[in-house]
Amino acid sequence: MAGLATSLGAGAATNSLAQMPDIDMLFLFGSNPTEAHPIVSFYLKKALRNGAKLVVGDPRKTWMARRADVWLNLRPGSNIALLNGMVNVILQEGWENREFIEKRTEGFEELKKKVKEYDLETVEKLTGVSKGNIIEAARLYSHADKAMIVYGLGVTEHQTGTENAMAIANLALVCGHLGRPSTGIMALRGQNNVQGASDLGPLPSSFPGYQAMSNTGAREKFEKAWGVTLSTEIGLKSVEMLEKACEGKFKGIFILGEDPAQTDPNINEVRKALDSLEFLVVQDIFHTETTKHAHVILPGASFAEKDGTFTNGERRVQRVRKAVEPIAGKAEWQVICEIATRMGYPMSYRHPSEIMDEIASLTPIYGGISYARLEKESLQWPCPTKDHPGTTTLYTDLFSRPGGLAKFMALDHKGSGETPDSEYPYVLITGRVREHYNNGSMTRRSPGIMELVPEELLEINAEDAMKLKIKNGDKVSVSSRRGKIKVKVKVTDRSQPGNVFLTFHFPEALSNLLTSEHKDPITGTPEYKSCAVKIEK
């Protein structure tokens, strides 16, 4: 979300889900909501039933792509070229919103100069999308009254992920499609509380609520509340901690409920890093690939076993309520307090509601949130005070950047970190299926779900299958420069020729042995969406 934060001010969706049925034009980009976000897809389907036009940018022929007015079947990794091309068409045709550009943005001239390099000829070559489709998509988007861009991990899980999001913001800003109901940019993300986890400060360069560590006022506020002098040195990102561990320069990590040894790309490196540590603590509800490397494993509590809040993708803060006692006796928040106390920094809260009160007192965007209010109402941040109703649409007047203006970013097409060649001729895209979730540790333990989708399947186009002389159900080996897995084949026209698809839900077929080490230099988000592989019988 660093992309949207740079362009607009906040790394968050600009509108409410409830506004979706009223949109006139939906530009769905790198997202397959019918599989990954089914309930969001219900809102979008309603918009389509109400007559909204649909443009889909996705290398895969998804449910939505089949129904699109225009399907932009771009090559994986060519997002920026496509978006620059669309902006260029809009400017050439005079379809931009001049008043909006003048009053609410900066950096337009640089953008204009940059996108000139992306004429239709060039863009068609880079993306594989036909000129006619690029023009039609640009026309539909720019001419709509209420146009919304909905993007997913197909945009962010690239080495240019942050820049991809900025390119999306450019498109919206050129047309002035921000700051109004049913008009804006919605990012659909992977894990349930990724928004809340970003909001509340486990980030190496900012305090909770995106307050920069360089902001002296903010630092003093936290120092006063927490009674310590805080380090001013920017911390290490998770990938950097692992890299340093490999070099023997990082010694101990506490991992709360994550499974980098299965879900990170290029897991061989991750495993090496974890094994280099002198002390690794992992807290999780199940044994995972990561717990195998731990020195101490702590049992976690599932969402049914504790009180708390999650913040969803539209900035809505909602209660999680304890339905049963923690299976192992303690929830994570209690464990953190106990370790802190033992290490000489006493922490104690009687109930998570007291933690929320502390959050509210230190984090302006959560300032008005309390458990008492959440009993009665549902609030979207920013909600700065106890009587503030929350915010459904961001940026109605000002962007949350210095000066209140949004910023155009002039961006270059860079492509994927790894492209297919004669040895590894196929592009592997990884993603989710509706029935499973992430490393699968929860869904694989729900019997009915395993009955429906019991194993990993490599999705491949019929044309490629014929070339390779493989058919449905055959077992093949898929290998990249980093590893090899064996998996069954499913022939489907969801995959286009040249592209194959795997999920990452099954430890028996670890697709992340294959994925590349390339990552977004700004956020550290790995390039899950594209690497080169070969397929053998």
Partner: protein, 354 residues
């Protein structure tokens, strides 16, 4: 009064409602109950069951409240002798082709048909006649369909086609023998079913029920705890149904701001991991290549000692923490606070930024 508002009278009381609202919606806002069977707020108005028929002054016949929009100065009567007679007849007719199975039915206690029979004091005996005797269909992991309990309200079909757009079920058969089913009555799993359970969540009777919750307790034995889904970032709300300290079922929260009672397969049917035998139940400490069970005190003492030792030996920049996008806001805040106040550095990060 603005253009968007109109005044109408319901049972003699004047109320102010939105132009374009149906009589049903206006009545509900005013706290007046009108019975319905085929209505669900998630669906387009349908007007199929006629239970919501009301009298409108100046109109000679009864009008369905669920499809009739309010109009200025409209005067609506929701209960009268005629209305009651008609509602009784509708319920009786439904019961005349309904198995007398309430004592064993999963739905008892929250069944719309049972409630109506009670409210109007009918048992279906006045209309003898033909009854369906159809096989129960359950060749899938999640949904049991007993067509004999179907009152042909069409809600399942409409939610599957209007909201989910899966097109798995539709009307099959003719005349008296028309009821919802998959094409050629194939198992749902072979008919594009997403197993979202929306059809189950909308069925007013025991015709569609969750297979996994069967026999685990009826509504009056269960405690319902409203919570937020732990799977994806959409933030759907639902009820965890708890009996004897165990989550036995997930049911819809129709008032949820995000999902209005809709869920996906993970949220609705992906809960058994909670009580899985594979859960880690105690802290575990590594000795050589194996792990040994430990008490919380042993494990937490060891963790505190080790981290303190590492900081002493290598400096406080040698340690860090990964937070989890699956943990709560409060826990994420605490781990950020922990790194800054205990490790005294800023080495804390979201592990996978997805």
């Amino acid at each position: 009064m603005s253009d968007h508002k109109v005044k109408i009278k319901i049972n003699g009381t004047e109320i102010c409602c939105n132009r374009g609202d149906t009589i049903l919606k206006a009545a509900r806002m005013a706290g007046v109950r009108i019975p319905t069977l085929c209505h669900d707020d998630r669906l387009e108005p349908y007007g199929g069951c006629r239970l919501c028929s009301v009298e409108v002054k100046g109109v000679p016949r009864l009008l369905p409240a669920c499809t009739t929009p309010v109009a200025r100065k409209m005067e609506v009567i929701t209960e009268s002798e005629t209305i009651t007679r008609i509602r009784k007849r509708i319920v009786s007719l439904m019961l005349s082709n309904h198995p007398n199975d309430c004592m064993r039915c999963e739905k008892a206690g929250e069944c719309a048909l049972q409630d109506l029979a009670y409210q109007y004091g009918v048992d279906g005996s006045e209309y003898g006649g033909e009854r369906w005797d159809l096989p129960i269909r359950q060749a899938n992991p999640f949904i049991v369909y007993d067509p004999n309990k179907c009152v042909t309200c069409g809600r399942c079909i409409r939610i599957c086609n209007e909201v989910v757009m899966a097109g798995t079920i539709d009307w099959v058969g003719r005349g008296f023998h028309t009821y919802p089913d998959t094409a050629f009555r194939k198992p749902r799993s072979l008919s594009n079913c997403e197993f979202c359970g929306q059809c189950v969540s909308t069925c007013p009777t025991g015709a569609l029920i969750d297979k996994k919750g069967r026999g685990k307790g009826r509504v009056n034995e269960l405690t319902r705890v409203k919570t937020t889904c732990g799977y994806c970032g959409t933030g759907c709300n639902f009820f965890l149904n708890v009996k004897d300290g165990k989550v036995v079922k997930v049911t819809s929260d129709y008032d949820a701001p995000v999902n209005h009672g809709n869920l996906c397969i993970k949220g609705r049917y992906g809960y058994e991991f909670i009580h899985s035998a594979d859960r880690i139940k105690t802290p575990l400490i590594r000795r050589g290549d194996s792990f040994h069970e430990a008490t919380w005190d042993e494990a937490l003492d060891l963790i505190a000692d080790k981290f303190t030792g590492l900081i002493k030996k290598y400096g406080n920049k040698s340690v860090g923490a990964f937070s989890s996008s699956r943990c709560t806001n409060e826990e994420n805040f605490l781990i950020a606070k922990f790194a800054r106040t205990v490790f005294r550095n800023n080495n804390v990060d979201n592990c996978a930024r997805v």
